[in-house]
């Protein structure tokens, strides 16, 4: 564990905790954005440039803005009246601890942790592109089709409706 990793980990965890405990919903979104950015920085620290930058582009640039828009369009963004901790927080924390235990056990039991990977300083974009275009071309095409359909749908929504005569 290096010092940059510790800083980034603390940043990410603090952002996540703040996102759950702050009273003001917009503050929660901003704190969540901080943890997204911390996660992206962790990817970058591992040498995964492509994943890190896509994480910033998609999560900080789009998902955070989407969350903000949703909050502003649904109801008042002011602090809520109900308490931060719900009445059944003990059950919730038990479930969370259980999920964490299972995940941690799965990771420790797998051969991922014992396998020693050659240290990669820069995961180039080209292998990712090659893998997407050869091995995973079908999932890519399906995703592309789905996203294109969504894009065309947005354009159709934006098109001017035929004006009806009164």
């Amino acid at each position: 564990m290096t010092v940059p990793f510790l800083i980034l980990a603390v940043l990410t965890v603090v952002g996540t905790v703040a996102a759950m405990t702050l009273r003001n919903l917009i503050h929660c979104v901003l704190a969540l954005t901080l943890s997204f950015a911390g996660l992206a920085a962790l990817y970058l620290q591992l040498g995964a440039q492509f994943v890190g930058f896509v994480q910033i582009l998609v999560y900080v640039g789009a998902v955070a803005i989407l969350a903000v828009f949703v909050i502003m369009m649904t109801r008042g963004a002011g602090p809520g009246l109900h308490p931060i901790f719900s009445s059944f927080w003990t059950v919730g924390s038990l479930v969370a601890a259980g999920v964490f235990a299972i995940l941690a056990w799965a990771i420790c039991a797998s051969n991922l942790s014992s396998r020693i990977l050659p240290p990669q300083t820069e995961a180039a974009v080209r292998p990712i592109g090659d893998a997407l275009m050869h091995q995973y071309v079908l999932p890519l095409e399906i995703m592309g089709l789905l996203l294109t359909a969504a894009l065309i749908g947005a354009v159709v929504l934006a098109m001017q409706e035929k004006r009806r005569t009164p």
Binding site: N24, I26, H27, L30, T33, Q49, F50, F53, V54, I56, L57, V60, G61, A62, A64, I65, V68, F69, M72, A77, E122, A124, V125, L151, A154, V155, A158, M159, Q160, R163
Partner: protein, 394 residues
């Protein structure tokens, strides 16, 4: 290239190596990065100061008035006066404002604007970091600006600033799609996301003519589309609805005063310079000279010459075109820019697989011009010319 010319071209690189020479090897990367960052901060902040006075002079000339002419010779020391004024003004924070977010918004904006310069090659061997995914980094950092704008608009607790922020975000998100898609053709042609290798590909010559991507049908169309989207991204006229003075006073930075207000201006201009520099890197050959017999002029001078030309175009457009309406803005983004960028990507693919010759020039040009005319026609048809009925004012 002769020895002396190449030394002048590399003078800053040589100077940096000379400065680092006396240091222990362990400290060199950090000190080198700090010196480069300081150079970028100083140069582009100075360029911002020069551009403000040039813009006011240019706009003044277009609007048949003098522009600033009181401070220094021909008013060229105006930025100093502006700086002193904004530093000495009181920093007013509204009582209802969210203090922390209100403070952080301009800081984040300027940080995001400056971060983009890390991957821009200013001259031969003059780039802060040669990232493997440089173009992606540029767009990722650019998307931070939206968050800063929202923070500014929301934290001011002012209806006008919130409206301005909403307008700005809607506009930025809409035009980010064509901005990225317009640069995809270059990534297809160059086969790389690194800004340095994209410029290296363009810095070759056949005869006296350069290999700029601008001189391809898809490159030319891509450049025009990129520049339109860049104008919208930097909230400049004719896409300056977020700060429409006549309807929402000044948009998301109404409640900012003093130096924070100046920081917003700095961020806006830095964003404009950065996207212009990206357009230069992608389409106009970066630091490469336009003709092979002009390579003796240092590469950084070419970069800044191209940057000044693009800034002049921005000022010219600001003085010429009126502001769009919100629905026109959105229709233009989704019904013209987006289809055109997608067609442009298709044309770049056709160009790649056709044998070289006149045939592919003709076919690709037709494939680009025909849909362009059709799309403009369909945009024009929607324009209704009936007398406007006002619901309340009759």
């Amino acid at each position: 290239m002769s020895e002396a010319v190449s030394h002048i071209d590399q003078i800053f690189v040589i100077f940096l190596h000379w400065l680092l020479g006396g240091l222990p090897a362990a400290a060199r990367p950090a000190v080198s990065a700090i010196i480069s960052v300081i150079a970028i901060l100083v140069v582009f902040a100075l360029l911002f100061a020069i551009t403000t006075v040039l813009e006011r002079k240019g706009l003044g000339r277009m609007q048949n008035r003098y522009g600033p002419n009181r401070v220094g010779p021909f008013g060229f020391f105006q930025p100093i006066a502006d700086g002193v004024k904004s530093l000495t003004k009181e920093d007013i924070v509204p009582h209802g404002a969210d203090q922390i977010v209100h403070f952080l918004a301009p800081v984040l904006l300027v940080i995001a604007a400056f971060l983009a310069y890390a991957v821009l090659p200013i001259g031969r061997n003059m780039v802060l970091v040669n990232l493997n995914a440089g173009v992606l980094y540029f767009f990722a950092v650019g998307s931070l600006v939206e968050l800063a704008v929202f923070m500014a608009g929301w934290s001011s607790r002012n209806k006008y600033s919130l409206l301005g922020a909403m307008r700005a975000i809607a506009q930025m998100i809409s035009y980010e799609v064509p901005l990225v898609l317009a640069s995809v053709v270059i990534l297809m042609a160059a086969g790389s996301l690194s800004t340095v290798s994209i410029v290296d590909m363009q810095a070759r010559y056949s005869g006296v003519w350069p290999h700029w991507f601008l001189f391809r049908p898809w490159g030319f169309a891509g450049f025009i589309l990129f520049m339109i989207a860049a104008t919208a991204e930097s909230n400049r006229s004719p896409f300056d609805l977020p700060e429409g003075e006549s309807e929402i006073i000044a948009g998301y930075y109404i409640e900012y005063s003093g130096f924070k207000f100046a920081l917003f201006f700095l961020g806006e201009y830095l964003g404009m310079f950065a996207t212009s520099a990206m357009a230069i890197t992608l389409f106009l050959g970066g630091w490469a000279a336009p003709f092979s017999f002009l390579t003796w002029i240092p590469s950084y001078l070419w970069f800044f010459a191209k940057l000044m030309v693009l800034i002049a175009v921005f000022i010219w457009i600001r003085g010429t075109l009126p502001r769009l309406r919100m629905d026109q803005l959105m229709n233009f983004a989704w019904q013209f820019m987006l289809p055109m960028t997608l067609i442009n990507i298709f044309v770049a693919g056709v160009w790649h697989f056709m044998p070289s010759g006149l045939g592919r020039w003709v076919l690709c040009s037709v494939l680009l011009i025909a849909p362009c005319i059709l799309l403009i026609g369909s945009l024009k048809q929607q324009k209704s010319t009936e007398v406007r009925k006002y619901r309340f004012a009759d």
